[in-house]
């Protein structure tokens, strides 16, 4: 764990990412606004927030998987490539699978149902590594082993696998290209407790082995288990970034929204945040959380600046001097 210091050069440097969807009748959806993040090798960052806050869109933007009516601005540097500016050819040849590996939300739906796991790994290995023919079977077995996928299940079809094994098969595919950044989009949704533990354990292992891991999730318990740092997203903006130990332990989150989200957990107050998140197609001018915020003041009519990893006019407490993150 490297929770104490922001390590040297970030592996992923995301600057001012803004995503807009243009719909008919001049409607514009502000899915992501001004998101900036740094992620170092060996670090695991959890991006948390309510459903529909734009966190999955952020992930899709990194992989260039957004539809054609999208406007993306900002920069996302990974290994010297700005993946937001890259064209489809660069994305296909250098980014997807090679710089960024995707661990999908529901592996059962992500895997091809009519082909065996071996055949899918085969294809991915050939595409990404292009090895000599005779080395292919060995590389396929290695790829499976890296994600702890049992070799005797390689000739099974996805429907013959349990949820946990399907997850490992999908992870094996994500690991083939030895990508330095792993992107996990809601990896624990709908899984039972044992599988959540197994999945978060694997992701933690990949971070410990030197990869950068970005987990997009609404499952705070899973985030707590695996993350070094937490980024909280609300209405398309990152409103707080904090070390996981501070965020989930003491002193706790600084943003009132993050505090409300934690207090909604059944192990805490089990009290919902009043109201619902705003529509991303008509956000208020000021702080988007102000209408639901118990501490909102007139200052909240203006957008709070992002400062010290926090965007709020009235944080719950000032940043402790020493931390400086």
């Amino acid at each position: 764990m490297n929770a104490d210091a922001p390590p040297a050069a970030p592996l992923l440097s995301l600057r001012d990412l803004t995503v807009r969807f243009r719909l008919r009748h001049g409607v514009e959806v502000a899915a992501v606004t001004g998101a900036s993040l740094d992620l170092a090798a060996g670090e695991c960052l959890a991006l948390v927030g309510e459903s529909g806050c734009g966190k999955s869109v952020l992930a899709a933007a990194l992989l260039g998987l957004l539809p054609a009516n999208t406007e993306v601005t900002g920069a996302a540097l990974i290994g010297g490539v700005d993946v937001l500016a890259a064209d489809e050819r660069t994305l296909a040849r250098r980014v997807r699978g090679r710089l960024i590996g995707l661990v999908p939300q529901s592996p059962a739906a992500h895997l091809n149902p009519v082909r065996t796991v071996r055949s899918q790994l085969h294809e991915t290995v050939r595409e990404l590594l292009d090895p000599p023919r005779d080395r292919l079977p060995g590389l396929v077995r290695q790829a499976a082993a890296r994600a702890s996928f049992p070799a005797d299940h390689l000739d099974h079809h996805p429907h013959q696998l349990s949820g946990g094994l399907a997850q490992r098969a999908a992870t094996a595919l994500a690991l083939v290209g030895d990508a330095p950044l792993l992107l996990a989009d809601e990896p624990t949704t709908g899984l039972d407790r044992d599988l959540v533990d197994a999945t978060t354990g694997e992701l933690r292992r990949h971070a410990d082995s030197g990869r950068a891991v970005l987990i997009v999730t609404h499952d705070l318990t899973a985030a707590q288990r695996v993350a070094d740092r937490v980024a909280v997203m609300y209405a398309g903006r990152i409103v707080e970034v904090a070390p996981a130990a501070d965020f989930f332990g003491t002193p706790g989150p600084r943003h009132p929204y993050a505090h409300g989200l934690l207090e909604a957990l059944p192990t805490r107050a089990f009290r919902p945040i009043p109201g619902m998140p705003p529509e991303l197609s008509r956000l208020p001018d000021g702080c988007a959380f102000a209408p639901r915020c118990p501490h909102a003041t007139t200052a909240c009519h203006e957008q709070p600046p992002q400062y010290d990893g926090l965007a709020c006019h009235h944080p719950r407490f000032p940043l402790p001097e020493a931390a400086g993150a």
Binding site: E50, L261, A264, P272
Partner: protein, 222 residues
């Protein structure tokens, strides 16, 4: 009292998913059902909601034995039990506006006249605005759609409510809000509850007692 006695159930010619399971839910009682994936939680929930016929065993609702499983359980018993499902996207008709989703069970029972008032009342209880009621499922979030599905489950004022993984797709705040809605309803009506989940923390907080199903019979017999 809702009672299941020695229930055996399964699908097709395969080995049964549940064998000799008994369960009682008293009025006003909240029972949590916990277990790993594939252990038969949802099958049991569907039997309690009278949607899946058991192979053997007896279900009674307030002393009345449920008959006619081969076709459908009698309407007056089915409407006494409401159910919400895990995936709102799969549980709501994509063509219906949320208002019509909520009112559909009333219309199906020839109570369309009451639909408008009842929908408005329930929408307020689950926290949906009038504007959201006019949208279709693809225009709302998972959380908003699940709120509509909960309203639909309450539309007949059921005496029992079955929440099958109602919140496992949802974030913490929406989860707490939906549970609070269910509890407000139960405080008023003394309805019984069967809450199915794999989240022990949630059920511990929510329910009076918890039943743990063993791992799948299927898995052990294979």
């Amino acid at each position: 009292m809702l009672e299941l006695r020695d229930i055996t159930a399964g699908y097709g010619p395969a080995a049964p998913v549940l064998e000799n399971v008994s369960l009682t839910i008293a009025p006003g009682e909240a029972v949590g059902l916990l277990g790993p994936s594939g252990c038969g939680k949802s099958t049991l929930a569907r039997i309690v909601a009278l949607l899946h016929p058991p192979r053997a065993g007896i279900v009674t609702v307030d002393g009345e034995r449920v008959r006619g499983w081969r076709h459908r359980a009698p309407r007056h018993l089915r409407t006494a039990i409401g159910i919400t499902f895990q995936q709102p996207r799969a549980a709501a008709d994509p063509r219906l506006r949320l208002a019509d989703t909520i009112a559909e069970p009333l219309r199906a029972c020839g109570l369309a006249a009451a639909a408008k008032d009842r929908t408005a009342e329930l929408a307020e209880a689950v926290g949906l605005t009038a504007e959201l009621l006019h949208r279709r499922p693809h225009e709302v979030s998972d959380g908003q759609l699940q709120r509509a599905c909960l309203a639909r489950a309450l539309v007949h004022e059921p005496r029992w409510l079955v929440c099958d993984e109602m919140t496992s797709m949802l974030d913490a705040s929406t989860t707490a809000a939906l549970v609070a809605t269910v509890e407000t309803y139960r405080d008023r009506t003394r309805a019984g509850l069967l809450a199915v989940s794999h989240d022990r923390d949630l059920l511990t907080r929510w329910c009076d007692r918890i039943i743990q199903l063993p791992p799948a019979l299927i898995a052990t017999s294979r």
